[in-house]
């Protein structure tokens, strides 16, 4: 077991967790933040994407010990005062969601991109989202959603 202190969605936590726990497990099981999903466990599908110290990362490939002192943002942080962020809204309006299982990861990858680069091109959007697999939408509406926010 190890003790970690970190910040998730602006809240400070101090937890004692198993060394084998991944950031994904901590978010889902210790903090009940089940918006972050597991699709493959090997960093291939991106459903577990969260923002760690400003960067989009696969939370299935980060161990507990590696988040001590870190600042993390998950999908649960996007809606403020019962208002969806522009990005979330764009996903709904452009049909970027079907089954929705890839959606939290997509949103976090897109948010990390938009924070660093508020006006990305289509190619830049594809670079940022290349690690997020979607099986339902064919990606076209997802690209359109991010473009809508980038305007």
């Amino acid at each position: 077991m190890i003790e970690i202190k970190f910040k998730v969605n602006q809240v400070d936590y101090k937890l004692e967790v198993d060394d084998s726990s991944r950031l994904l497990d901590i978010l889902r099981e210790e903090l009940g933040l089940t918006g972050t999903k597991e699709g493959c466990g090997i960093g291939e599908c991106g459903a577990c994407t969260v923002i760690l110290n400003g960067d989009a990362v696969n939370s299935c490939l980060i161990l507990a010990a590696q988040v001590d002192g870190a600042e993390i943002e998950t999908v649960e942080n996007l809606e403020k005062n019962e208002t969806l962020s522009r990005l979330q809204q764009a996903f709904v309006e452009n049909g970027a969601i079907q089954c929705g299982f890839c959606t939290p990861g997509m949103l976090m990858s897109a948010k990390a991109l938009l924070t660093k680069n508020p006006h990305p091109t289509s190619a830049e959007i594809k670079d940022a989202l290349e690690g997020n697999l979607c099986r339902c939408t064919g990606y076209v509406p997802i690209i359109n959603s991010v473009l809508a926010v980038a305007k």
């Binding site: 060394d19 084998s20 991944r22 933040l33 089940t34 972050t36 999903k37 699709g39 493959c40 466990g41 090997i42 960093g43 291939e44 991106g46 459903a47 994407t49 960067d55 989009a56 696969n58 490939l61 980060i62 161990l63 507990a64 010990a65 590696q66 002192g69 999908v75 649960e76 809606e79 969806l84 979330q88 996903f91 709904v92 049909g95 969601i97 079907q98 089954c99 929705g100 299982f101 890839c102 939290p104 990858s109 991109l113 594809k126 940022a128 989202l129 290349e130 690690g131 997020n132 697999l133 979607c134 099986r135 339902c136 939408t137 064919g138 990606y139 076209v140 509406p141 997802i142 690209i143």
Partner: protein, 1084 residues
């Protein structure tokens, strides 16, 4: 978020056909939607599976004693514990949720453990020991088809589980009357659904019914209920199934989740507690059913003008170990096998055959993608032979109004729009213009060939004569005018909840916002049949209409006096206002009045599909009550030097009858096309001798966001008299056409017909699939084998201890007296550890600041070992001096991977396909290896011994990479990385070249290969040949033979060399020519 509203045909505001936001959009963008694995119940236990170790054989012993002893284990369920029916199946009960004494495929389950936590459950599953008497498996359905073949299930007397014949006219006569008769064989592969959500099911004892509540990722809750009730020996009303939000299904979360539900229900019975079973991706791919591989033989006779006279079709479908939905899947194939073409003489036979492969069942398309691939490829070939265009042959033979299908059905009850969809797609795609453009491009380009191809289909809507086709809906208006809708069908992600809410809103004239679509549970409504066969909108939509109209009538009866109108038809219901000529009442008020008068404002809609018929002997009958038509046009680019296909654009025109939600409908097309694209070029479920090789999504490749440039969805509307508002089907047609369109585009591009998908690199380049052969030890033995498997039943991280040193000094000190595995970015190490058993001590060095950063001096640039690839590729100095390093590193994994993966990690891992390494060889990097007592420097050249072996010692850390700054002269550079898709690749081959010239002669030349030899390597012999020479075409040719010999000497015996050697020679030629041409253009 305003939904679009416009006028309907009566000039009233209407939500039908508009772009409507999903009603479940909010919960899905906020992470609040509850999926199977998100369910937590009080006192819940966790389950884990013990799978078979071999694909076929008798179990001689199962030893659970060690597993039982593990503290925290609550129950281990085995065959003997099953209280009810032990063998199950939708038609034929030939499958086991837990096997008895024999295993039939690699996903069979021997036992299931329930324990207090996940890890204990998994550990216990790993501890169960099984002994077998292996049986040689049968993995080729053509072998299983032979009458002397071993019987997979002897009790059924034959491996042929189903045979559907279809006879129309006389094919013999038809062939005789034909100018030409050709015969072609086609083959399609397995396809994995690859829904992003792996399966998860929870069962909880229900004291009220003395049965169970079942939750989770369930496509067809009523089927799950039935299967669990049978298995547990319960009545249907003792099993209540609550489907959670479904993370994709595509036909896939049916049988497999039913069996999972059986297992957890049994464990819930044994323990008296709720039990959850969630699959890893590996479990999911290993156990879940796939799309059937088909072996198709088409013999066709036609006149010289292209008119088809006769078609004889024989298809063998690989059903794997169990029958499952094969009876239904193959039936659709026999109905539609000729495609949408009028042929007087047809003889079709399709056989579903048992093998020891993964069983196969429902997958979006359901027996149509295979036949469309074959017959639409065949149509193009016949057109070629007859010297007519692909469009002409389809127009000559295609169905029109009143055409008779192969099964003798007259197409007169709906608009036959085959030609309309084709013309629409052609216009939108500028098909004719593109043909000319591509011809020109191909004439002037040696390497890249462009192709355009089309395919057409017709498809029977809903279940047709395959089964009972009725469904249910409840519309319930509350006293305040708000509305509940629920149906006996299921939201799988496709948007059904939105569509049905729209339909209810439209009929009642109320606002979408007033409608709540209730989470379905099987106790609350009657079985609406499965959500399959693209039947949701057409059948469920009708049921919603019936229910809503009933409620509307009841409300009207109460308010008609106030409206001063006796005829409901003469009233208008819109924007929540009910109007007559004389008066108006708000809908909410009307609801309140009716409610106060004790009127029942809940109504049940039950829709029974129109009659269909089928004669099993002759294959004749009215198979489906209506049909949809579609046409897709694919534009592709083929790299002839590697076999890589890039899909540039797909234009997809589909007649949907009537669009209900345009946003949803377009999404069905873009999504279906992408799955069809994967089926055509990427998706290769690799199972050999019953063993699954493509275990996770790094090996089973689905399309990424970079694998298509554009999809143009076109919705054609011809309202159907049976459909709700005229709507028909869309989900499946979108997928079924794409592979044939791509295959026909491939023929256009290369001039070669292809008869097999997927069109992998090897298939395109060598015209055959090339797969890593099984090791001898994996080929089934006949001796008794005792398996002390140390393999984890479910890959996971466990048994890890981590130590995080504060600084480099502390890290080195720890390493000097203790053994650790070093953890940095974790993107290789943790993936590896998921598979490994035993204890692992990790030294976490990711955050050591001394290992981060890039420093620049006059002669050299030093990259600290812990620098991530994202940091490297965004560094301006590195971008300036080492462009190939930047290009190579930017192709590693994905943005998320590059944000964590470190350069030292990539180097030390020493994979032959490591992308950062070849550039480091090119730029002649050196590595600093530091231990507590010494620091040493080693060249990149010497560091890797061979694959995954390096010179680093256990107490050392690779702290720095030193790159000499190249002299300020003009370098010519070239880098090429080949992957199977356009992102998330494991590199198949790479080539880097740096060259300088003095007076036109090569003065420096560095060549490096990746993924070719057992480590990334320079090619000094070839470099030497080029030194001092002019880079002329002749010179480039001259190095080819020696290069070939060098590669052959080293890797000639490897399975992949047949592909890799010629392709690497091509890459070298491309690369050197690229430099030569650039140089020549500079000289001009």
């Amino acid at each position: 978020m305003q939904n679009e509203v416009s006028k309907n045909r009566k000039g009233q505001d209407s939500v039908i056909g508009k772009r409507i936001n999903r009603v479940d959009g909010y919960e899905k963008v906020t992470g609040k939607a509850v999926y199977g694995d998100d369910i937590q119940l009080q006192g819940m236990l966790y389950a884990a599976i013990r799978y078979t170790d071999i694909p076929a054989g008798k179990i001689t012993q199962i030893d659970v004693s060690e597993a039982e002893k593990l503290a925290g284990v609550k129950a281990i369920a085995r065959f003997k514990d099953i209280p009810g029916q032990k063998r199950l199946g939708p038609i034929r009960a030939d499958q086991y949720a837990i096997v008895d004494e024999e295993v039939f495929y690699t996903g069979d389950v021997i036992a299931v453990v329930a324990a207090e936590d996940k890890e204990i459950a998994h550990l216990a599953a790993d501890l169960i020991k099984v002994e077998y008497q292996p049986i040689p498996g049968i993995f080729d359905p053509r072998e299983a088809f032979q009458s002397d073949s071993r019987l997979i299930h002897p009790e059924y007397k034959s491996n042929i589980m189903v045979h559907y014949p279809l006879r129309k006219g006389s094919v013999e006569k038809g062939f005789e009357q034909s100018d030409q008769v050709i015969e072609r064989d086609y083959k399609t592969g397995f396809q994995e659904h690859a829904y992003i959500e792996p399966e998860s099911i929870t069962a909880a004892p229900d004291p009220t019914s003395k049965g169970y509540k079942i939750y989770g990722s369930i496509q067809n809750p009523f089927t799950t209920r039935k299967v669990v009730a049978l298995f547990m020996g319960l009545n249907l009303n003792q099993v209540n199934v609550f489907g959670s939000t479904l993370g994709g299904s595509f036909g896939g979360k049916d049988d497999i989740v039913n069996y999972m539900a059986c297992r957890v229900a049994l464990l819930a019975k044994m323990t008296g507690k709720p039990v959850k079973l969630t699959y890893s991706r590996e479990n999911s791919i290993k156990e879940s059913y796939k799309r059937h591989p088909y072996f198709l033989n088409y013999k066709v006779g036609f006149a010289e003008n292209g008119k088809l006279n006769a078609m004889k079709i024989k298809i063998i479908a690989d059903c794997g170990a169990y029958s499952s939905q094969t009876f239904f899947v193959t039936w659709r194939s026999v109905v539609q096998a000729t495609g949408p073409y009028e042929i007087e003489n047809v003889e079709t036979d399709i056989y579903g055959v048992y093998t020891n492969n993964t069983y196969t069942a429902a997958f979006r398309g359901f027996g149509s993608p295979q036949i469309i691939f074959a017959q639409e490829s065949l149509m193009d070939e016949i057109a070629d032979i007859c010297g007519i265009s692909p469009v002409e042959i389809r127009q000559l033979n295609g169905y029109g109004q009143g055409s008779i299908t192969a099964s003798g059905q007259k197409l007169s009850e709906h608009k036959v729009s085959l030609n309309e969809v084709m013309i629409t797609a052609m216009k939108k795609a500028e098909y004719e213009k593109k043909i000319e453009e591509f011809k020109l491009l191909n004439a002037e380009n040696d390497r890249f060939a462009f192709g355009i191809g089309l395919s057409c289909s017709y498809r029977g809507c809903s279940l047709g004569a395959e089964g009972t086709d009725a469904t249910s809906a409840i519309v319930s208006v509350q006293a305040d005018g708000s509305v509940y809708v629920l149906t006996g069908l299921n939201e799988n992600g496709q948007g059904m909840r939105t569509t049905f809410s729209q339909i209810a809103a439209e009929i009642l004239g109320t606002k979408m916002e007033k409608i709540v679509f209730l989470e379905p549970q099987t106790a609350s409504i009657n079985d609406g049949g499965p959500t399959v066969a693209s039947r949701g909108t057409i059948t469920g939509g009708n049921a919603v209409i019936l229910a809503a109209k009933e409620v509307k009538q009841r409300i009207f009866e109460v308010i008609k006096d106030r409206l001063k109108e006796t005829d409901l038809e003469k009233t208008s219901w819109q924007n929540s206002i009910i109007k007559s000529k004389n008066n108006e009442i708000p809908f909410d008020e009307a609801a309140e009045i009716a409610s106060k008068q004790g009127i029942n404002l809940s109504a049940y809609g039950w829709w029974n599909a129109p009659d269909v018929s089928w004669d099993e002997e002759t294959g004749q009958g009215n198979a489906y009550f209506t049909y949809v038509y579609g046409c897709q046009i694919a534009e592709i680019m083929v790299d002839k030097s590697t076999g890589k296909i890039d899909v540039l654009k797909v234009t997809a025109a589909h007649d949907v009858g009537k669009v209900i939600n345009r946003l949803g409908a377009e999404g069905q097309i873009t999504g279906g096309v992408m799955q069809g694209l994967g089926y055509a070029v990427l998706e290769d479920y690799n199972i050999q001798n019953g063993e699954v090789k493509s275990a996770n999504l790094d090996e089973y490749l689905i399309p990424t966001i970079k694998d298509i440039q554009s999809i143009d969805p076109i919705l054609v509307e011809n309202e159907d008299k049976f459909g709700p508002f005229g709507a028909k089907s869309l989900g499946e047609p979108t997928l079924e056409l794409t592979s044939a369109a791509i295959n026909n585009a491939f023929k256009f591009a290369t001039g070669n017909h292809s008869y097999e998908i997927p069109l992998t690199l090897e298939k395109v380049f060598l015209n055959k699939q090339l797969k890593k052969p099984s090791r001898q030890s994996e080929v089934a033995h006949t001796e008794t084998c005792r398996v002390h498997s140390t393999k984890k039943q479910s890959p996971r991280l466990n048994n890890i201890t981590t130590i995080t040193p504060k600084n480099l000094d502390e890290a080195l000190k720890l390493l000097s007296h203790e053994q650790f595995e070093i953890l940095s970015g974790g993107t290789d190490v943790l993936i590896g550890l998921r598979m490994k058993s035993g204890e692992h001590k990790l030294l976490n060095i990711f955050d050591i600041s001394e290992l981060k950063g890039i420093s620049i001096s006059q002669n050299e640039i030093r990259i600290k070992g812990g620098t991530t690839f994202s940091q490297i590729i965004s560094n301006s100095v590195i971008r300036e001096h080492f462009p190939i390093l930047v290009e190579a590193c930017s192709k590693i994994g994905s943005t998320q991977i590059r944000n964590r993966a470190t350069i030292a990690g990539n180097i030390v891992n020493a994979a032959p396909c490591a992308d950062s390494y070849p550039p480091l060889l090119l730029y002649e990097a050196e590595f600093v290896l530091q231990s507590y007592h010494r620091t040493r420097t080693i060249s990149a050249e010497d560091f890797i011994i061979k694959n995954y072996q390096t010179q680093i010692e256990a107490n050392e850390i690779l702290t720095e990479i030193i790159l000499p700054v190249p002299a300020p002269q003009k370098y010519s550079q070239h880098y090429f990385q080949l992957g199977r898709r356009n992102a998330l690749n494991i590199t198949r081959l790479s080539l880097g070249i740096i060259m300088t010239f003095e007076n036109d002669l090569i003065s420096d030349c560095r060549l490096v290969s990746g993924s070719l030899f057992n480590k990334p390597k320079r090619l000094p012999e070839i470099e030497k040949m080029l030194y001092g020479e002019q880079l002329k075409a002749k010179m480039i040719e001259a190095i080819e033979q020696p290069l070939k010999e060098i590669i052959e000497k080293e890797i000639g015996g490897r399975w992949s060399s047949e592909y890799k050697i010629p392709v690497f020679l091509n890459l070298m030629r491309n690369g050197l020519n690229d430099i030569r041409k650039k140089k020549e253009s500079q000289n001009d």
